[in-house]
Every structure is written in structure tokens, then in C-alpha cells.
Symmetry: C2
Amino acid sequence: DMIKGLYVAIDVDYLAGRDIPRVTKEVLEGGCRLVQLRAKTASARQFLSLALSLKELCIEYGAVFIVNDRLDIALACGADGLHLGQTDLPLSQARRLMPAGSIIGISADSPEDAASAQAGDADYVAAGAVFPTQTKLDVLYGGLSGLKAIRQVVNIPLVAIGGINKSNYNEALQAGADSLCLISAVLGAPDIKKATSEFMTLVEAEKND
Amino acid sequence: DMIKGLYVAIDVDYLAGRDIPRVTKEVLEGGCRLVQLRAKTASARQFLSLALSLKELCIEYGAVFIVNDRLDIALACGADGLHLGQTDLPLSQARRLMPAGSIIGISADSPEDAASAQAGDADYVAAGAVFPTQTKLDVLYGGLSGLKAIRQVVNIPLVAIGGINKSNYNEALQAGADSLCLISAVLGAPDIKKATSEFMTLVEAEKND
Ligand code: NI
């Protein structure tokens, strides 16, 4: 099972002006093996160009590379997976059009969304925002209670997203998350590699509890 | 050759609030057999939902159905083709990922773009804006001279786009366009079916000249 532990979303808008492949390399150097590329406002050509770079880096580090929103970009760069929100392509179409064995994750705003994603053969469900966040996500604010409610209806991997940091990550794990999707907690750190590495240690320790 | 004569772009933003399948039906009833769906601001799910409806209508009328910008939507709805601008997926990726025999059209801002599209096996090139227009297009303003310059470097079908209406369409044809891509001249008419039908007659007459 590849969807567990730390999951870092490389958000191009959040990182405006930064060197995206360099940032991604820091995340990989820090030990993260599950990376998503999000580019809500980039052109498809820019998005693909970044996706090709990041896919190559992820191959180098043995990491799983997932593209957010765009099935065409995922196909074009040979991503390992695709993450879809409730207003993106439907899961059934993504399953039909992505190569066999691809990872498909779905953002769920409710237990109904989550159950439907699991029934539709999603590989994981992402729930949130678990905590308040400034980052524009594909999910509404569901809080810890929303996360718990979704945990009760799915047994596929559950990814917690939204406002997760060092002081609250364990609440998300205790609410049933298998994986923590981080943006600002890692990408906003002065030393991204160090922040990633520290989170890896925290998440590993929690798992062995 | 399917890229000739009238080509109507169903622009969802231009048609804000209108019944898109109904408008498309009028265009088809008016005789147009080449239809593009453009939805720059819709969600992927909304875009796909419209694309599936329009593809079905186009099958019913024996018309060619082309999706603008999004390869994922084109694949998901089984479109006959895909139209790409210079900031969308590259032509090489589209050719690789679309089913064999799909039509791929490219918006060209310059003779260089156009020659490169032809060399990359594009099925047609769109050039414009030939005349000033309010509609947000994937092309810069190239004028009639831009259209003529592109005609000189490509022998694949050339689609003229941007501000074409009843008083200027013949200039675009005389500059070498094989096809006229219309938005407001048809969709802005009080009777869309009648406007389409009148343009079909004009374009046919010009061809027989
Ligand atoms: Ni999304």
C-alpha cells in the first residue's frame, strides 16, 4: 500500500515564484515518497512541463507521483496517479482512461462522497479541510469530526488534508487518517528538507505507537 | 476533408445562462456540420456533461464534434477531435494520446506556429483574430495579413477565426481560409438556426464562385 504516511502536495500557486523542481527535490531529500503536483492557475503547457520534471525526480527517488485535477496532464507525463475533486472528471471516467494500475484518489466532502468513491474503486479518499487553512483546496471544511465520519464508512486509505502541522497532526492520525497531506507546513518552512524529515520521523513514531 | 465551410464554436462563456444543447441543436438544424465546444471557465465535470450532450447531438446530425483545450474531456466524451492553443498540451502529446484518426487543430499566432503545427501532423490550423472581436480567443490579433501569411506556409486546412460576420467573411475566404469559425455572428443572432443557415448558403456560394 503506497498511500500512507507523509504526502506532500507541491502547490504551484502557493509556491509562486519559487523553483518548483528544486522545492520538490528538497521534499524528496527529506524522505517523502508520495508527492502531488497541483497547479490550479498554470497553463496546461506549464503544468505539463513541471509534471515531467517532477515525475523524473520521483523516479530518481522511488517516490509515487500524483497529478492533481488534470487527467490529460497525468497521461502526458506518465504519472503514477491522479487526484480528483468533486467537480473534476468523474471517477468512472478516470478509471476507464488512466492506465491499469494507476492510483486514483478522490476528495470527499462527506461520508456519502467517500462511500461512493470507495464503491467506484478509488484507491484512496482525501478528507478535509481537517483544520482551518489558507490554501485553496478541493474540499470544504469538514474538521476532525468530518474526518472521523468518513473513516467510519471507508476502509481504503484515508488522507487527511488542510491545516495540518506539528501541533495537530496526531489528532488527524488518531481520527483515523492513514496519510497526512501537507502543503504549507512543509513548503512554508525555512528549511523544506528538514521540515519534511521531521514530519517523516513524527509520522513514523506515531505509527509504531 | 472535414475541415471546410462553416465551423461554429459553442462558447459556454459567451452563452452564459443559455441552454447549450438547445443552442447547439439550432446550429445543427441550420446545417452546420463542424462544431467546437469551448468552456474556459466551467469545471471539468460541467464541461464533460455538456460535451457528452453535444457529442450525442453531433452524432444525430452527422456532424464533427471537436473539444477545445482539454484532451481529458475529448477522451472522456469520445470527441472526433481536439483544438489546442499555444499554451495547451503540445501537439505531439495530443497526437500520442488521442485515438488514431482523431482530428487535431492548432491555433497559430504566426507562420512559424502554423508551419510547426503542419510539421507536427496537425489536421488544421486556426488563424486569427482575423477581425477585431470581443470574444476571448486562443489567438492574438493577426488580421487578414496574418491569415494570408499563414496561408503561404501551410497546405493543411486553414480556419479563420475572430470577428467574422456577413460583411467580412468573403475577405477571409479570399485570404485563403478553408473554413470560417464563428461565435457571435451565429450565437448572437436572434434566430440561430436562420443565421447558421444563411452563413451556410453564403459559404457554399463563395466556394462555387
Ligand atoms: Ni480538483
